[in-house]
Structure formats: C-alpha cells, structure tokens
C-alpha cells in the first residue's frame, strides 16, 4: 500500500470530475495537509470515460504517477459500472462511493464486490434539482466527507468550499454548490 491517502475518480468528460478532484484537493489543502490532484492526460472529449486522482498526506507528496491502488474509488458516472478498469487495484479496504439512485445492495452486486464498504448518493438527482443539469461533483464531495470524515469533516469542507468557489463562481452559484455538498452528505446510503 502507498504511504499516501489515494483516491481515483471515474467519470465522463463534461461532468466536472477533474474540477471535483481539484476542488477536493484545495479543500483538504485548507486543513493543512499536502495534496495533489490531476487527471489522466488523454484527449479530453465530452462523454468519454476519464479518470482523475488525488493524493493526500501529512508530508510532502513526491510522486506524479496515476493511482494504482486507491483507498477510495469515486464513481461519478453510474454508466461506468462494469467498465474493466474500475476494479483495478481494489483490495478489501477500498471504499466505493457511487453516484446512483439504486440501493447499496444492488450497486454492490453490479460491481461484484466482495464485502468492501460502499456508499451510494443520488448526485445526479441532487444536481438536476439544484442546477437543472448534470454536474454531480459537489454532491460527490459531500458524500466523500460522509464516507471519509477523518480526511475532511463536513464542517471543514463547507468552510473551505465556500472560500474556493467564491474565487470562481457568482455568489448564488456558491450557495447552490454549498447546498449540493450538504444534500450529498445527507442523502448518502450505506
């Protein structure tokens, strides 16, 4: 196992997955940890599968290679369930967080897991309700803090996210994204 806390995001181009990984890194950075965030640098095409990565650590992060054995797998697009590369590097301790309206039991079965922890969150539903389109990353961040409160608490995430979003978004959009994080947190099922 790596000495870093490692996350692998699986999404599709255009859903904000890379932005999600970067925002989560910035939020965790705000709590005093060292962080990194980067995607697989392939051609970026809307709708095509893509991966993004995070590393968090109390000390310096020296490596830039893709995450091979993630502590957490975030599946941002449920249509990627069953894709071959998702289960790569999974061990008994790997935690799954899946954007889906299906139950955890159904999702576990679809992913053919052997007892790993799995959390579901209807992030698309939350996103449509708030933004009227599919940008599930803020809700996914909320779900992440429910699943991994030791990495960043909901309180810390909300505080950091407000700060980060206010640099790039208009005020009402900042509020809506904060709401998306809260909904993501509240609607997690295990």
């Amino acid at each position: 196992m790596s000495k870093y806390f490692e996350i692998r995001w699986h999404g599709r181009g255009g859903q904000g997955t890379v932005t999600g990984a970067k925002s989560l890194a910035e939020a965790v950075q705000g709590t005093g940890k060292h962080v990194s965030a980067f995607p697989d640098y392939g051609p970026e095409r809307r709708g095509a599968p893509l991966r993004a990565f995070n590393r968090f650590s109390d000390g310096k992060i020296r490596i830039h290679t893709p995450v091979l054995e993630p502590n957490v797998i975030l599946i941002v697009d449920p249509t990627l369930i069953g894709a071959k590369d998702i289960e790569k590097g999974v061990n008994d301790e790997t935690v799954f967080i899946v954007n889906t309206e299906k139950s955890p039991a159904e999702t576990k079965k679809a992913l053919e897991l052997d007892g790993q922890a799995l959390f579901t969150v209807p992030a698309n539903k939350i996103s449509y309700k708030l933004f009227n389109r599919e940008i599930p990353n803020s809700a996914m961040m909320g779900a992440f803090t429910k699943a991994c409160p030791d990495v960043i608490s909901l309180e810390a995430l909300l505080k950091q996210a407000r700060h980060i979003f206010s640099h790039v978004l208009a005020e009402h959009l900042v509020d809506m994204n904060i709401e998306a994080i809260k909904c993501g947190y509240d609607e997690v099922q295990k």
Binding site: Q29, K33, A37, F38, Y41, H64, T65, L68
Partner: protein, 393 residues
Amino acid sequence: MPKNVAITGNGAMAEAMRQINPDVVAAFPITPSTQVIEDFAKFVNDGKVDTELITVESEHSAMSACIGASAAGGRVMTATSSNGMALMWEMLYIAASMRQPVLMTLVNRAMSAPINIHCDHGDSMGARDAGWIQIYAENHQEAYDNMIMAPVIGENMDVRLPVMVCMDGFLISHSVETMQIEDDQQVSEFVGEKVPLNSLFDTDKPVSWGALDLQDYYIEHRRGQLEAMYKAKSVIEDVSKRFAEQFGRKYDLFESYRLEDAERVIVAINSVAGELKEVVDELREQGEKVGLLKIRVFRPFPYEDISKALEGCKIVTVMDRSTSMGAYGPLFGEISNALYNLEDRPLLYNRTYGLGGREMLLDDLKDVFQESKDYLNNGKVEKIFDFLKVRGA
C-alpha cells in the same frame, strides 16, 4: 506573508511573474504553457502588475519583441513549449548572443511530428546550444523558486544572459500540488530592479544593437559569451545561497539524493526524480546502496562538481527524456564527459524513457535499478543505449 496553496505548475509560474512584475511580456499561446500567460493576462487586466503585455501573432515575434524590449532596458518575460519554442529558434540565439537577459517559462513538451502535446525534453534539449541558461525543476515549488531566482541570475553584470526555467508539461504544469508562495514584498526585494545596460532609450549615449561582426571580432564575442556562461555557474550558486537564506529552501547546481555511499546511481532530470526518490528510499530499506543525482542546472553544465559527486560509485544509469537522433542522449553525453577523467570510472549506460508522455511507474523504475544490479554483478554493461517501455525492442 508566505502562504501554502494548492495550485497548478502553470499557476505557480504566473504567480512568480506577478511578483517579479516585469516591464514587458510578449507571448503566443501553446499547450501546455498557455495557462501561464492566461493567468498573467488576468493580473494585467486586474491592475495587479504594471506590465505591458504584447499579444503577438507568432512565437518568432514574441521572442523578437522580448529582445527589443530588453535592449530598451526592460525586464522581459515569456512562456512557451515545444513547437512554439522551435518557431523562436533564430531569435533564441539572438537573445543570448545580444546578451539580453530575457526570462522564459519553458513547459517541456514533445516536438512534432507526430503531433503530441505531452511531456518530454526534446524542446529544451534541442535548444541547449542556443546560449540560454537552463534550469530544471522537479515539481511546482522548484519551478516557482527557480523563476524567482532567474532574473537575479540572468541580469547579473557578469552574466547578462537569458534564462530558461523548465518544468514538465502536464505532469507539473497541469497538476495541482501543495506549495508555498512567498510574500510579494520579500520576492520583490529579492528580485530587485533590472539595471539597464546600453539601453536604446538612453539617447545621450546612442548605441546600435546586433551590428555586423565578421572575421575580425565574431569569435571574440562568442568567446566572451561563453565566459559569461562559465561565470553564471558561481552566480547561480551565490543566488541560490541568498535564496536559501531568505526563503529557507536550499538548491545546488544538482541534487545529490542518498549519494554518499551509493554504488548504483541514476542520473535524471525533472519530475521523474520524485518517483526515483521514492524508489531509492524503498530499495535503501532493503539494504541496496542506490542513489539519485538530479540535474538542476543543465547550462552551464557543472562537469567537475558532478564528476566529484559520482566518484566512487560503481555504476551509473543516465535517463534521458529526449533523443538526439543518431547519437546517445544529450544528458548521457554530458555525464560521460564529466566522468571520463576519473581514474576509477564507474560503468555507464544510457536509457531513453518517457518520450511523448509515456508514463514511468514506480515498478518500471525499480526495473531500471534491477538492470543496473545485474550489470554490476556481471561486471559489464550489455547495452550502452536502449529505450525503456517501448514496443518493438
């Protein structure tokens, strides 16, 4: 106040440019360096800098504008990559030989063809004879730190040469990483003001720049330029020392990582050094005497210092992230030169890796150390030159 931030490598370079607050920036966008100028353009628009930003129609014009503005006495910066720098080619030499301390962020990217936007060092290595000081960086922090030091080095009156600060495309330029941005005021004081030399604006002392210089003096001017490059070595050491005193991060001409008693050493440049340090630590825990020599300053090349640092080791693997078609790798050539005069020379060989962004995982790098172990056990090098992770080999 200095602050820790999570930022992309390009963002970090734009921050360095904001703090340096140059008189003129002339640039033309090219992946993966585009964001440097994009971010800097925002600083210009928001009035955070006093810079005249010239959006030119090509990289050739970008470097031409930089040379003109520098000859007028200004502190001048630009950023580019790969084919963009190739289009500057003529002007790169002219900037250096007219002794204009232009500052460039070079985000390393593979040269076309085939078109490839990803990292290798073919662009800067191709320009190694152009007369620019070349400083390389493993990560965000080093790229930023090198850029803060660049004007102080290049504008030193014994040097007056352009400086290229290189970092890996995408791996560093586009990834977010934790680093420290220093205090604006402190950086500004460290960098100081550029002292103009024979400025075009000094109408009391009119001068011509770039005059004709044939058999009578060309060779003396070239020799003088070389002298400046030699002097740059100690200037870089002095500036790095001053930087360490002020900001606490210490840099030498190259980094020796666990070299003291190392028998097997890898020599490499830029981001792969991070992965190599991780692998060296792991192998050291298993009792293997391995080490890393990471190049920071490639021009001027510190032959004697490197020869001393590698004296006593038994085998050296040089990893080149570029090819010199028809020759061994550019870094290998230099290391070979550095080691030749040692009485007890280590075994030496060259591996080419990572062209066009081909990734090297930790296990791949362990394989490289394993090969050097096999060579050392057999007492000879089977293949002096080869590619790593390539089809058809």
